[in-house]
Symmetry: C2
Subunit: 154 residues, 2 copies
């Protein structure tokens, strides 16, 4: 349902949410997210332009979240790459429809509303805290255990 670019963006952002204060090099991010490095580089550029991540080039460079993971919703990530828009007027421009949608476009708009709710209610922090789950995004069993131990330390 989501485009590959959207899926990859969500993976990249979730991955960066694990270490918010560290600049993660693109090749490392590519390995964690299982995304081809060239494709990922383009995704990261888009996320950077949307001010969701900040980066530094060169040795020791990489990317990190531009804001705390608690303040970034999945919807913001998706909208940076492929905006989910509500339908505000007839897509065919029919004059008698105007802002009153026909049953077909009302349904399409309802679907948009539903997705906006699902992704707007969830932050990146919600994804990586691991509450109530044994699976953390992008993490195999070993990495999940490490992250869970670190979290219980704090």
């Amino acid at each position: 349902m989501l485009s590959q670019t959207v899926e990859y963006s969500l993976r990249a952002m979730a991955s960066l949410a694990y270490s918010p204060d560290v600049l993660v090099p693109t090749p490392d991010l590519a390995e964690t997210t299982h995304v081809p490095v060239n494709y990922l580089a383009k995704v990261l550029q888009t996320l950077g332009k949307a001010d969701l991540i900040t980066g530094r080039r060169g040795v020791g460079g990489g990317y990190k979240l531009a804001r705390p993971a608690e303040e970034i919703t999945l919807l913001e990530v998706i909208n940076a790459v492929s905006p989910i828009g509500r339908i505000k007027s007839c897509p065919l421009g029919l004059e008698n429809h105007g802002p009153n949608l026909c049953p077909l476009h009302r349904r399409v708009d309802q679907a948009a509303e539903a997705i906006i709710k699902v992704f707007g209610d969830a932050t990146l922090a919600d994804m990586v805290t691991g509450e109530g789950t044994k699976q953390l995004p992008l993490c195999d069993a070993k990495r999940t255990q490490e992250l869970t131990i670190n979290a219980s330390d704090t």
Copy 2:
């Protein structure tokens, strides 16, 4: 949110639902749906392959719905063009995730579930009967009035 091809498919099917027993020529359908005729021809081929419409070439030819509009959901139309899939296992193939999704992919799956419900609950007939609305899909004021008069005749 929906691709242009999906939007065009929904328009084409809604348009055919107005005259279920009539073969509608592609150029006529293109005019009603506001879709470029070559693009529409490809969309119609896809809908035909999915057994949602049947057609005949040549003089007097065109397309009509393969089944009653009451029996075709919007979801079937969308799935013929760009399937909406539930996520059944970790898209990264992480062994410890298996069928238990992480919070990120659980959200993505929830979004798919929500859309499937919105479009699965609505048939093409629901779109064109015009109950509770003054706007009919693809129709300007004049055409809406004609169709409403015809409907009240029966």
